[in-house]
Amino acid sequence: MQRVKLTKYNQKKVIAEAITVLKEGGLVIYPTETCYGIGADSTNQEAIDKLLTYKTKRQDKPISVAVTDAKMAAKYVHINKTAKNIYDNFLPGPITVVSKSKHKFARGVESSQGTQGIRIPDHSFVLNLVRAFKKPITATSANASYKKTPYTINDIFSNLSTKQKKMVGLIIDAGRLPKRKPSTIVDTTLDTVHILREGGLDLPYPKLFIAHALEDTEQFVEQLYEKLGTRLGKKTVVFLLQGDLGAGKTYFTKYLAKKLGVKDVVVSPTFTICCEYKGRIGRKPITLQHIDTYRLYAPSEIDALQPKEIFRAPNVVVIEWANKVSEYIEPYLRSAVVIKIRIAAPDEQTRHFEYEIEK
């Protein structure tokens, strides 16, 4: 095992050393813009097997790889419109883009569904290294599985066995890296961006949450709640729901009400059009307004519901069949935080929540 200190002046020399190790099927620990990563030749089966032993207990978790640009990525994965959008706008950067693989990697790199996560790290040293190596190298974090995210070489080594340490061919030490969250992992194989892991970067796209059962809706509500953070309880927060009969609009509201500490049973507001519930955010009492425009004859009738009261901050408002009244409620949404949610039901159990938080 060799250890070199990366400085402003020795980049070329370090890259040459790293390439020697990679070509021999060895492992290289290197810095990225998020944390320390461990690189292996992603097309070399021996190298990947070694990496998998090093990481321990991986089960079926796939391994992302680092490339230099979209052109290089396109040799290894199918880049569709959704993915292209992210490559064009956000890379290089702390995002792992998952696409359908062209199956040119060693076994254990791709996911069991045949997809592959691609990284273009926003780190000139890594980009130069991959460019010189001319093949993707693995871009998984350098820690063993389920251990601390490494920002210093010491973070890695304090958790490694002697055997593991011996497996590493080269350590490129760039000192203490700034603590940044790991990359955001996005699945682009569907038409909508589907976030598989939340990371440091929040993408300004409609996102997808997949619920495999009704109860998964609760996790979706938790995620939204966390994202809204302190805006809840301060501003009016409006959820605009779209989705067919039986899509689960009322059940979304039920779980939201639960999170807001509502004690009453939240039922479908189709008949009464507007239901009011008392809840709280932290200790602050708030009102949850649950509106269903299904039975409105004309969208202008929303005026009769006293929208000024309904949209008063810090109320939380849920509107089912929101598109029907979008024009009429627009003035009330100007100072509110708006979350648009489109619910699709591909089968009786599964629900796709496509959502977008505005502002």
């Binding site: 039986g246 507007c274 009011e276 004859y297």
Partner: protein, 363 residues
Amino acid sequence: MKLKSNMKTITILAIDTSCDDTSVAVTQNNRVLANIVSSQIDVHKEWGGIVPQLARREHEKMIDGCIAVALKRSGVKEMKNVHAIAVTYGPGLAPALEVGVRKAKELAQEFSLPLIAVNHMEGHTLSALLKNRTGKSYSGITKPQFPCIALVVSGGHTEIVWAEKIGEYKLLGQTLDDAAGEAFDKVSRMLDLGYPGGPIISKLAEGGDKHKYPLPRPMKDKPNFDFSFSGLKTACLYNTNTLKKELGAKKFAKIIPDYCASFQEAVVDVLVSKTMRAAAQHKPKMILLGGGVSANSALRKRLRTEAKKLNMPTYFPAPKFSTDNAAMIGLAAYYKFQRGEMLVQPQMLDRDPSITIETPTKI
């Protein structure tokens, strides 16, 4: 005018604007002298007004006309012959409730009458106790016996209520998502049958085979008395989509009576079996039915048959008192009047859209 609770004949003008309909009734004790529902009469002809629609504006346009027609038809003629004003203050649609509450307060003040605030759900619970002008019971009830159980089923509610006596209620169970009436409406929409769905589906079901399409009975076997109709709705959605694809539009149209009967059977089965289980466990002296869905003949028939097995009398309101109406509000108000539950500060009354049958009486 000072009134005593022991007066023999109490004439009440009752107002209900809890949802779509503006309704005004004049009652005398438990007898209905007039019951006007805006969507059911041609107010336009008798007084002048417009086609009723949803919320506040529409109630505002209708209410004076309904009051005038109710007074005229009841034979009471003038406000000076009325002893008290009653009004629904919840549950319901806030802006709609407000119109009734405001009007009731105005009348109470203008004519110095006591004001009684009534819970809409109590009205539905007691609706089978109404009598006509000559004192004949619509439901055939001679002497109401308590404690009793009421199954209240409408577009907005599905509840099993325990009435220890008139004025003392406990909720034994309720829907956790969609109301039964709502399921009728939504399934009717899936089948492109129109609105409101209840009467249409019930009519088509008459000629259908209720065992043809076995549909789920959500929560039927859970030991509690709560309901869930959202799952049935979703099951129907997938089921009808599949059938439409398999059969094609023409053949699908032919199975609609069978489908309606099967769907209705699922709803009735859950409603009745839960009610009977509640009855077996709590042993009431009678079972009452109320709410818009109580007009459904399959529900009535099954409830009667099953209750007979437990030797329990069942009473149903006349269809016109199943749906929202002010007569039942006048009736509930009459009992409140007897108990002296008039509002102490009538001008402070405010609508409360989210009360339940268990909310303590407003005085």
